[in-house]
């Protein structure tokens, strides 16, 4: 059989995804596909997004049809070269489907996939994907958790170990945030690296997590191999204080939704499940106090307390700033006029959650930076 035949499979976006529903093909049979192209829209319980392929070829076969609900890893379509025979493709499909086993329920349980580590008396939850090489550490923003990287984690882990952690006060980590400012959270990231014997890592931080990563890079230069800041805090005083306050204050779905919609360029991404998950997080004892403590230290009165812009030129390792041009939380202008050592990429039309909404662009930029 031709070696050129490759399966396009139902991706796994985040810990809890078990299946996805085909919302429609974006490519026709016979179309030429390049790596990074979006071929299909898929809806899941939590989020809707496009399936991207990591290889090139001709879309020879659409197996899944609009409306089909398929388990993670099941066959969506087939890529192959022009000269591959239809018979070979038929054989490939038959063999794939004969051998395909949907993931068992227990393997899909998010709580068994994540691990925890004690960092100076706090429990820190993290998820590790991939192995070898200088690892990447993904640091989420205010009110987020390791699921904010669901479209990045697996892709970045193709060639190396990638850790995503829950900062204190977030996700399933301890709710004690100490003093709560950028320095306190940076100390936790440092402690996390020490606890897991990570001597050096590529840091990728989003929003507040960007400021935290930047702080680690400035104060522990020997531990950082590169720095990627996405819609990052720490580069100017402005931040949408109403968003922070609104996120903290909202107790009910309809109060929270308008604030969360500000994060995305496409408000349709803010699903019922996303809001329910955020409310479930916010309702846990200690979370409210943790968020208030962080806000008071990080953005008292709605302005960022710590601006490290004038020191970013001192960083000797590769630095990149990625922004969505329409970021309504931290303005994209903070990515402009940075010193020459910083590559700035402003992605048109995107919002604050650019790593989710333009995942393949962001993943590619990170891969290029890291090399």
């Amino acid at each position: 059989m031709s070696e050129s035949i490759r399966a396009i499979c139902m991706p796994k976006w985040g810990l809890s995804m078990k299946e996805g529903t085909v919302a429609g093909w974006l490519m026709d049979e016979g179309d030429e596909i390049s790596s990074g192209d979006e071929v299909m829209d898929v809806d899941t319980e939590k989020i809707s997004s496009a399936v991207e392929v990591s290889e090139s070829g001709i879309l020879r076969r659409q197996i899944a049809s609009e409306g089909d609900t398929l388990s993670v890893g099941d066959l969506l379509g087939v890529l192959a070269d022009e000269d591959t025979s239809d018979a070979d493709i038929d054989t490939f499909v038959a063999e794939f489907q004969a051998n395909y086993v949907p993931p068992a329920d227990d393997e899909e349980d998010g709580s068994t996939a994540t691990e925890t580590v004690d960092v100076d008396g706090r429990t820190i939850r993290y998820l590790l994907r991939g192995e070898d090489g200088v690892p990447i550490i993904l640091v989420h923003g205010f009110g987020g958790d390791l699921n904010n990287w669901l479209f990045n984690h697996e892709a970045l882990a193709a060639n190396r170990a990638v850790y995503a952690l829950d900062l204190p006060g977030h996700g399933a980590s301890s709710k004690d945030v100490g003093e709560g400012g950028v320095a306190a959270l940076a100390a936790v990231v440092n402690g996390f690296m020490a606890a897991l014997n990570i001597s050096k890592a590529h840091l990728v931080g989003h929003s507040l997590g960007g400021a935290v990563s930047l702080s680690v890079a400035l104060n522990n230069a020997d531990k950082v191999a590169s720095l990627t800041l996405i819609g990052s805090a720490g580069l100017g005083t402005e931040i949408d204080g109403d968003y922070l306050q609104g996120f903290i204050g909202a107790e009910r779905r309809k109060d929270l939704k308008p604030h969360v919609e500000k994060l995305f360029s496409d408000p349709a991404l803010v699903t019922r499940q996303l809001i329910n998950d955020l409310l479930a997080f916010k309702r846990i004892d200690g979370v409210q106090a943790a968020l208030e403590t962080i806000m008071a230290a990080f953005a008292p009165g709605g302005n960022q307390a710590l601006v490290m812009r004038d020191r970013i030129g001192d960083i000797a390792v590769p630095v990149m700033a990625i922004w969505g041009s329409g970021d309504r939380i931290v303005p994209a202008s903070h990515g402009e006029g940075l010193p020459g050592n910083v590559r700035t990429k402003i992605i048109a039309g995107q919002g604050h959650m650019v790593q989710m909404e333009a995942a393949s662009d962001v993943n590619q930029l990170i891969d290029e930076l890291i090399g």
Binding site: D109, S111, T114, A172, R252, R253, A280, R283, I284, D285
Partner: protein, 336 residues
């Protein structure tokens, strides 16, 4: 971190965590510890179905067995609530509530009002309700509409393990009397529940399924039946939105109305009797507030206006099922 536990375990965990957190939380009821004279935890049954098992061993005298005198121990709990404790009192079956209506309706529910807002009565009455247990007419009723009728009471009807824990914690922390209704057929239902304590605010309905064609408003055990029906209907291209009330007092009328304004059709599904019920209440609110949005008459799916039968075949027939819901949905869709 969330893991899978049962509805019954979620209730037990909420009680244990709140008793740990707040020393004023106490428990009382028939056999909640283990029955009078039980030698210790090993022998403690922990309520008629074991929901409170282990709490007596952990919290000792803060978990009190009472004689079979509902009027006395509900009265004692109400009194304790007015004088500094936060009692969680278990009244085994909601059907027995009748003997202590004065303590509940005329005392607990009225203290705040009668004393000019100066009195608080933070008591939680936990109780089992619902049919399907072969327990006959005097142990199977869905009497939460009776309590919903009374101003001054809050009424909670959790449908999942997650909601059971979060709503019970909210009930214990609330400063008003709460009737917390547990469907006995849900005790073995499993679901994801965080290990940490968390409180779900009252008066927020949960949209458990989104759809554009029909709104199904339901609560308690009927949520699962509504989902079963919605799954079947989706195969015919009918998309149901399912609204779980979570609490019947306060009731989240905004969410109901917004949903009906979107779908234009309403089916209310309730396991209780059809008259003066949650089904009639929701129907009346929608008829009053969202009449202009309705494309079809409202349909109610309820049990019949009879006692719960003891004969198994009749009891099965009595409880609303997914077929009843599907029929009602097809009726409001105009293609029955």
């Amino acid at each position: 971190m969330a893991r899978t536990i049962t509805y019954q375990q979620a209730i037990g965990e909420a009680l244990a965590q709140e008793m740990e957190r707040d020393k004023t939380v106490v428990m009382m009821g028939e056999d909640v510890a283990g029955g009078a004279g039980a030698p210790g935890e090993d022998d403690a049954w922990g309520g008629v179905l074991g929901v409170t098992k282990g709490l007596h061993g952990k919290f000792g005298d803060r978990v009190m067995d009472t004689p079979i005198t509902e009027s006395a121990f509900i009265g004692a709990a109400v009194g304790a609530a007015t004088s500094g404790l936060r009692p969680v009192v278990e009244l085994m079956f909601i059907d027995f509530m009748g003997v202590c209506f004065d303590q509940i309706f005329n005392q607990a529910a009225k203290f705040r009002y009668m004393f000019g807002g100066n009195a608080e009565t933070p008591v939680v009455i936990r109780t089992m309700y619902g049919a399907g247990f072969r327990a006959a007419a005097q142990h199977s009723q869905c009497l939460y509409p009776v309590f919903t009728h009374i101003p001054g009471l809050k009424v909670v009807t959790p449908s999942t393990p997650y909601d059971a824990k979060g709503l019970l914690i909210q009930s214990i922390r609330d400063n008003d009397p709460v009737v917390f209704c547990e469907h006995k057929a849900l005790y073995t239902l499993e679901g994801d529940v965080p290990e940490e304590a968390y409180a779900i605010p009252f008066g927020e309905a949960n949209i458990t399924r989104e759809g554009d064609d029909v709104t199904i408003v339901t609560l308690g055990r009927m949520l699962q039946v509504a989902h079963e029906a919605a799954d079947a209907l989706s195969k015919d291209g009918i998309n149901c939105e399912v609204v779980d009330l979570r609490t019947t007092s306060p009731m989240d009328t905004d969410t109901i109305i917004e949903s009906v304004e979107n779908t234009g059709r309403l089916v209310v599904m309730d396991e209780s009797h059809p008259r003066c019920s949650i089904a009639t209440d929701v129907s009346a609110i929608v008829a009053q507030e969202a009449f202009g949005a309705l494309k079809a008459p409202i349909q109610m799916v309820t049990a019949p206006h009879t006692p719960v039968p003891f004969a198994e075949n009749l009891e099965d027939l009595y409880i609303p099922d997914a077929t009843n819901v599907q029929d009602a949905v097809r009726k409001v869709m105009g293609n029955d």
